[in-house]
């Protein structure tokens, strides 16, 4: 263990958490703005039942395709549903999937990567070949292909997105594991007969955690954007459940209705993705300057 801390000290004198936070805040006001925006969206998602003016699913045939008014700030859609309420509820979907999909991908991808990097040999060759192939596919295309087979719905989206992200996590985890595996203190542990599982848990995982966390935050923005894309394509969140992608889909299917659902939902996606991108970049620069997406 002392070897580990020694190595870290050599690499960089670790400043205190507080110092890091101060540095980030001083250098990047955009990060504060991003965090505030994310907090606002989290609050909206959490308090959705309290602040949404209407039931997001309630249809009303006398109120279809209304333009924004005091009663309906963003107007109503072709089923007379309140668009603002649908957007507020839609934020839950986006944020939960934005956190969940990278998390699942991290767990599966890290397991694959660590196994490949630690054991090497034929296992490594098989996993690496597959990862190399999948990584050459854009995530959206991969997600569309898997969603085509799986179908939509909340858990399927999580699985689809996680599956699309897994290769990225596996690749980073594998490279990092191989680097740590070659460290003298790990070699020594192997030689002295410490069980492999113990070495992985004690030495490998703690040492590769930082880049994996960075990767998770970087993929959050992508997950939110991809969920919206899939829902827009009809492969994600299924109607009538509200999702930002769905709202745009409905808005476009109703071309001669009000443009406000499309504009509003798109702005929401753009600002959340922008905020998470900014935050992800900052976290990467602080935690792990060497990983790039």
């Amino acid at each position: 263990m002392s070897a580990v801390t020694e190595r870290l000290d050599l690499l960089a004198p670790e400043p205190s958490r507080l110092a890091i936070v101060r540095m980030v805040i001083l250098n990047r006001p955009s990060t504060i703005a991003a965090v505030c925006l994310i907090l606002v969206f989290v609050a909206i998602a959490t308090a959705a039942p309290l602040i949404a003016p209407y039931d997001p699913l309630a249809q009303s045939y006398i109120k279809i395709n209304q333009s924004p008014s005091w009663e309906h700030w963003l107007g109503t859609d072709q089923f007379g549903r309140d668009v603002l309420s649908r957007m507020i509820y839609g934020s839950r979907n986006s944020l939960i999937i934005g956190v969940l999909a990278p998390l699942v991908a991290a767990i599966i991808g890290t397991t694959l990567g660590v196994v490949a990097g630690f054991f090497g040999g034929i296992i490594d060759r098989v996993i690496s070949r597959l990862v190399d192939l999948l990584i050459s596919f854009p995530e959206l295309l991969l997600a569309i292909i898997i969603a085509a087979a799986l179908g939509g719905g909340f858990w399927n989206i999580v699985i689809v997105l996680a599956a699309a992200f897994v290769p990225n996590f596996a690749r980073v985890a594998r490279a990092q594991t191989m680097a740590v595996r070659a460290e003298p203190y790990v070699e020594a542990a192997v030689a002295s007969g410490v069980t492999q599982l113990r070495i992985i848990m004690r030495h490998i995982i703690p040492n590769i955690a930082a880049p994996i966390v960075v990767l998770m935050t970087l993929w959050t923005a992508s997950a939110i954007r991809l969920e919206a894309s899939l829902s827009f394509l009809g492969l994600g969140t299924q109607a009538p459940q509200p999702s930002w992608g769905n709202i745009i889909r409905d808005g476009l299917n109703n071309l001669f209705g009000s443009p406000w659902p499309v504009i509003g939902a798109g702005l929401a996606i753009t600002s959340v993705v922008l905020a998470f991108n900014l935050l992800g970049d900052t976290i990467r620069d602080v935690l792990d300057p060497e990983t790039s997406p």
Binding site: P138, S229, L233, G251, L274
Partner: protein, 312 residues
């Protein structure tokens, strides 16, 4: 060069095989009965049996796999149940629209992105640089289908300047139809290429050979375009590959927005109609396009970097 091309093509064979295997696996091994999925929950048992018979689903898996590979190799991708047309014919009709969109979008994106990157790199930390940074931040965040929807609402619906849907007939009409979707996809591309050009150029500016060029008496324009940019093309080629693939996948949603008769629209339509053979065919086309783009980028490297030519 020709020798290298052959070898590289040969290397792609196992990749294609693996891709096809994965498509097969995705279509057959994932949970759910394809027959049930295709025909819906209230299909009659006879219908299900007929469906399984037609697609060979009652054969053993290895047999299905070989039939599948054989079908792909002989360009026999089956028939669409709903449209009763050969899948290959439908794909052949749709593919040009997707390729056209990708090419025009790439052209626009590169023509805007590269000069933006040069501007940002040469005016580092000044107004143009901040502008490009902001542009790339927004470009990364705006979903392409949203941007497409905004353009469609503004220019096609409200101003009536562009068509609302379709792919067009004849060259000029097709260009007219492709323009808005291409601009949509080019936005993200320009942001990405612009940022990449800036980073690569700034790195190259510090290189010794750029100083050599200045010491020779080359003027700034020549230093930037002949020496620096030419070398920045190496990382840019990688970026071009990534952005080509992003455009390809982005084209699915954008085709849907503009109702273009491309592969994306075909695939998404088939998924919602559960048109099994068309889904499979669409996926195969996309997968092969990805393999092809990666191959193309590898060849582009050779063209751009003479150091890679000797090993060939």
């Amino acid at each position: 060069m020709g020798h290298f091309l052959l070898r590289r093509l040969f290397d792609a064979v196992p990749t294609v095989l693996l891709v096809l295997t994965l498509v097969f696996a995705a279509m057959r091994i994932l949970p759910g009965d394809p027959a049930l999925a295709a025909l819906g929950d209230n299909a009659l048992p006879e219908q299900l049996a007929a469906f399984r018979e037609q697609f060979g689903l009652n054969q053993p898996l290895w047999r299905q796999y070989l039939d599948f590979l054989g079908g792909v190799l002989t360009f026999d991708l089956g028939r669409s149940l709903l449209h009763s047309r050969p899948v290959l014919e439908m794909l052949a009709h749709a593919l040009p629209f997707t390729i056209e969109l990708t090419i025009v979008a790439t052209f626009i994106g590169v023509t805007i992105g590269v000069p933006l990157g040069v501007l940002a790199a040469t005016r580092r930390n000044r107004l143009p640089d901040s502008g490009v940074r902001l542009f790339s931040l927004v470009g990364y965040a705006v979903p392409d289908f949203y941007l497409g929807a905004l353009l469609l609402i503004t220019f096609s619906l409200n101003l009536g300047l562009f068509p609302i849907s379709g792919g067009g007939e004849g060259f000029w009409d097709r260009m007219y139809h492709v323009l808005l979707p291409a601009i949509t996809l080019a936005f993200l591309k320009a942001a990405f290429i612009g940022k990449l050009t800036r980073t690569s150029l700034l790195e190259v500016f510090g290189k010794d050979y750029v100083r050599t060029a200045r010491a020779k008496g080359a003027r700034e324009g020549r230093v930037i375009y002949r020496h620096a940019l030419r070398n920045a093309l190496l990382p840019l080629t990688t970026g071009l590959g990534i952005s080509l693939l992003a455009t390809l996948s982005g084209s699915v949603a954008v085709e849907l927005v503009f109702n273009r008769p491309g592969i994306g629209t075909l695939l998404i339509g088939a998924i919602s109609e559960r048109d099994y053979a068309v889904i499979q065919g669409g996926i195969i086309v996309f997968a092969l396009l990805v393999v092809f783009v990666n191959l193309l980028i590898d060849l582009l490297y050779i063209a751009v970097d003479p150091r890679l030519r000797v090993q060939a």
